[in-house]
Every structure is written in structure tokens, then in C-alpha cells.
């Protein structure tokens, strides 16, 4: 494409089958007062 460069693919829909809840709780990570959730990691494949 001449006019558009995609830097993030439409990944949100692919995650609808996940929701396993194994990831870190956002408020525990650093902020404790103002959440940004999108900066959390998905732990769907990081189970121990």
C-alpha cells in the first residue's frame, strides 16, 4: 500500500478464545493507582 503502513495487526479478536486469567493483575505491577491494562503481558503460554 502506498498510503498506509500497518504497525499492529488486528489481534484482539484472536484473543476471544483465551481469557484464562493466568496473567498478572494490572494494579499489582507498578502503578497501584491508575491502570493501564494494555501494557500487561499475556500469560496464556507462560504457565509453570
Amino acid at each position: 500500500m502506498k498510503n498506509i503502513k500497518t504497525i499492529a495487526k488486528p489481534t484482539l479478536k484472536n484473543t476471544a478464545s483465551k481469557g484464562c486469567g493466568e496473567c498478572q493483575t494490572s494494579c499489582q505491577s507498578a502503578c497501584k493507582t491508575s491502570c493501564t491494562v494494555a501494557n500487561q503481558q499475556c500469560d496464556n503460554t507462560r504457565r509453570r
Partner: protein
């Protein structure tokens, strides 16, 4: 829904429902002021003074190709409200208040200098054990659990912290779970022995400091009203030198340091690599409270911070700023993005007395007392309220472009400012949106 904005010389277009993000030409950026409401002919006519009809035609084709591929103007049909709300009460994370006492007297403290509107107290090992047992027994099939040692100042009760980590390791085996311990400290008591224990046992560590000495010392004071910077900085530098796992130095900015990018710079120049600086949320009548009229200045400062972030990355001395770490590859799943922080559903706080609250920010408010770890018949009476307080049920969030990134904001901030967890804290929303634009702009600049 789309959101478009400029970051430096870049035109950025976000497709909110799919998560796709694009850098576009000036022409596409202009066309999207009209598309899809206006027909192509009308757009060609509107923009004929800037672009030729042929080039506008080509750009239209590109926009429509993305639309057909679900990367622009996509539908919000990932999951239903029923799928989200039907997941049941599972508690997987706990903020464990091991000390309702503190050896600092920070002026902006939401925890009443550690006392949380109650008596100063320390968590006993016996109550701590009940708290740890509470978590796996209420966590359903979740494997990964989290316990953050919090206060007040948790290092004031460090022997109990150590005992509870050992107890937690046994609980992991007994219940077949993995517990991630974290700790949040003000650094005053962070000596070599505690450092070694924390490094060996904690997955994440939050080190509180506001930045430049004069900024830190204005708010973060000792009980006899002295500044604390000189008392903590060496402890922190020694700590991170040995640290292999995750850590954050975490500060708070107020109306008194709206030039907070300088504080981030100070911390980065000292060698700290993971930095978080948060806006103070407090009684609006206080002199240091942030006000709506400060927003333009705060936005400007986030832009300066984004410049600094990029500059340091280019110069080979990168640092991470917590709110700029948006992962464009994947990040959290759509369930988490809709449900938000998990307070009152999968996240609770437990006091030294064993009282359970939806999160650390609600501790001490009797309306939010959920039970006690010594009472085996726990039932979360507020589960439905918090479970339903997600972005599809909050009017202001439904139409907001940032909804899948901020996920509805902090329930406690919403409650404290608006008297309900269903209406987000407006100034928090505005700052969050600006941080997100900077975060995504940074990714675009580095792409």
C-alpha cells in the same frame, strides 16, 4: 470506531475494535475526516484543492481493502457481556497489608500515613497464614496467583514477610499453585539482608521515590519532618545493581512538579531502567491536587517525556516508562481489556486484622468491607457490583477510543471522585488517553 491523531510528523490511525494500528499519509488522514459518512465524490470535491481525484481514488481503495479485512471500522463483536460476566467469582491476587504503620509521613498518602483510618498495627504470622490459605482456596482452577506485600511500609514487618514466603512455598505444593510474590517499599529499611531475600523471592519490586531530591523531599518526609531522598537513594542504587528480576522505581507527581519528565530523567540518569510516575489523586481542595486547568500542561509534559524516551532509546541508554509499555503484538486478551483491573472480583486487599476489601484503595471504608480471612464462610457480597463495572456497562467508556487499553480505569478513583464505581474519574481518563497516544506514537516512531 477509529481514533486518529498526530504524533510528531506521523499520522496514526487506530481501529479500536480489532486492535489494528496504521501509519497513514496526509491524504488518508484527511479522507478519514469524511469517510465513511460522505460518498467518494463528495470527498474528492472537498479535498480537490489538496489532492488529485486519481490519488484520492487510490487511497479510497486502500481504506476499503483494510475495512474488508477487519482492520478499519471493524465491529465490536469479540465476546458478549454474558461470556464476560459468567466467569464466576475467582480470586487470584491479593494485596497483603503486612504493616498498617509507616516510617514515613508522605503528605499525599492515601493510607493515612499507614494507619488507613484505623489503629497502627502489624500483620501477625497467624493471620498472614490464613490470608495465604484464603487465596488458593478461592482461586478455582487458576494456577498463577499473586501476593503483593504492601503497607504502610512492609519492611517494618519483614520477619513476618519472610515467614509468609516460606509458608506460601509450602502452600504452592499443597494446593498445586504457583504464587508470585511482589513487594512495595519506601526504601528506608532496605538493607543488604532484605535486598538479598527480596531478590531471591520476589518476582517484582516497587521502589517508591518521586524523582529529583527537592521534589521527593517536598512530599516524602520522615516522621520528624525531614526529607527522605538522601536516606533511600543509596539503598535503591545498591538494590538495582544486584537485581536480576523485574523492578520499578515509582513516583507520584502533583501540581507542584508538573515538569515531572525531569523527575523521570533524573531517575533514568541515575541508572534506573524501569520507571513509573503516577498522577496524584487526592482531595481537589488541596493545593497540590491536579486540576482540570493543569491538563494542557500535563499533556505537554507527557510529550516531553515521550521525546526523552525516544532520545534515550536512540542514544543506547533506554529506559522503560510503565505507561508507555503498550504491546502492539498482542498484549492482554480481550476479556482482560474489558474487565479491567480485577478489584473486587479477582483481586482483594487484606489488612493486618484479616479484613478483606476489594483493593488497597478501599481499605478502611466500611461500605466496602467484604469479610475476614478468619471467617471460613466468605462470600463476596460486592462481586456482582464489581463484576458488572466493566467497559460495556460504563456509559463513558462505551464510546471512548481508549477503552481496550485502559479498560475502564481505577474503580477507587471513580468512587472517590464520583461516588460510584460506574463513572470513571474524568481527569484520569484524559491523562490516560494522552499517555496512550504517546505510547502508541513511540511504537510508531520506532516501527
Amino acid at each position: 470506531m477509529i481514533h486518529k491523531f498526530k504524533f510528531k510528523e506521523l499520522n496514526i490511525v487506530m481501529d479500536i475494535n480489532s486492535g489494528a494500528i496504521h501509519i497513514v499519509s496526509d491524504m488518508v488522514y484527511d479522507i478519514l475526516d469524511f469517510y465513511p459518512d460522505e460518498p467518494k465524490e463528495a470527498v474528492i470535491s472537498q479535498l480537490s484543492n489538496k489532492y488529485s481525484p486519481t490519488s484520492i481514488n487510490d487511497a479510497f481503495d486502500e481504506i476499503e481493502a483494510l475495512k474488508q479485512n477487519g482492520m478499519l471500522f471493524s465491529d465490536d463483536d469479540q465476546i458478549t457481556t454474558e461470556m464476560l460476566e459468567g466467569r464466576g467469582p475467582v480470586i487470584k491476587a491479593m494485596c497483603l497489608h503486612v504493616a498498617h504503620d509507616c516510617n514515613m509521613r508522605c503528605k499525599y498518602c492515601f493510607g493515612d500515613a499507614g494507619a488507613f483510618e484505623g489503629q497502627r498495627s502489624l500483620l501477625s504470622f497467624e493471620t498472614g497464614k490464613k490470608a495465604i490459605d484464603f487465596l488458593p482456596t478461592h482461586s478455582g482452577t487458576r494456577h498463577n496467583l499473586e501476593i503483593d506485600f504492601f503497607g504502610g511500609e512492609p519492611l517494618m514487618n519483614f520477619d513476618v514477610v519472610k515467614q509468609l514466603v516460606a509458608y506460601g512455598r509450602e502452600a504452592e505444593k499443597a494446593y498445586g499453585k504457583n504464587i508470585r510474590f511482589t513487594i512495595t517499599t519506601n526504601g528506608l529499611l532496605l538493607d543488604e539482608e532484605k535486598r538479598d531475600f527480596i531478590n531471591a523471592n520476589m518476582e517484582n519490586v516497587i521502589l517508591s521515590i518521586d524523582g529529583r531530591p527537592e521534589v521527593n523531599d517536598r512530599m516524602r518526609r520522615t516522621p520528624n519532618d525531614k526529607g527522605t531522598y538522601s536516606l533511600i537513594i543509596k539503598n535503591y542504587l545498591d538494590f538495582v545493581k544486584e537485581r536480576e528480576g523485574t523492578y520499578y522505581v515509582r513516583g507520584t507527581f502533583t501540581r507542584d512538579n508538573l515538569d515531572f519528565a525531569e523527575d523521570v530523567k533524573h531517575l533514568a540518569d541515575l541508572g534506573f531502567r524501569n520507571i513509573s510516575v503516577e498522577p496524584v489523586v487526592t482531595d481537589p481542595s488541596l493545593g497540590y491536587a491536579l486540576r482540570e486547568k493543569d491538563l494542557p500542561r500535563i499533556f505537554e509534559e507527557y510529550e516531553r517525556l515521550a521525546d526523552l524516551y525516544l532520545q534515550y532509546a536512540m542514544e543506547g541508554k533506554p529506559f522503560e516508562f510503565f505507561h508507555f509499555n503498550v504491546d502492539l503484538e498482542q498484549g492482554p486478551c480481550v476479556y482482560k481489556r474489558i474487565a479491567g483491573c480485577g478489584a473486587g472480583t479477582e483481586y482483594v486487599a487484606v489488612t493486618p486484622e484479616g479484613d478483606i476489601y476489594p483493593c488497597h484503595q478501599f481499605v478502611g471504608n466500611p461500605d466496602f468491607l467484604l469479610g475476614n480471612v478468619w471467617d471460613d464462610a466468605f462470600e463476596n457480597k460486592l462481586f456482582e457490583d464489581f463484576n458488572k463495572a466493566h467497559i460495556y456497562n460504563k456509559e463513558k467508556c462505551k464510546s471512548c477510543w481508549a477503552k481496550f487499553y485502559c479498560s475502564g480505569g481505577c474503580h477507587a478513583n471513580a468512587y472517590n471522585m464520583n461516588g460510584t464505581i460506574s463513572v470513571p474519574y474524568e481527569m484520569g481518563c484524559e491523562m490516560e488517553k494522552k499517555r496512550l497516544e504517546c505510547a502508541i506514537g513511540i511504537r510508531a516512531a520506532l516501527a
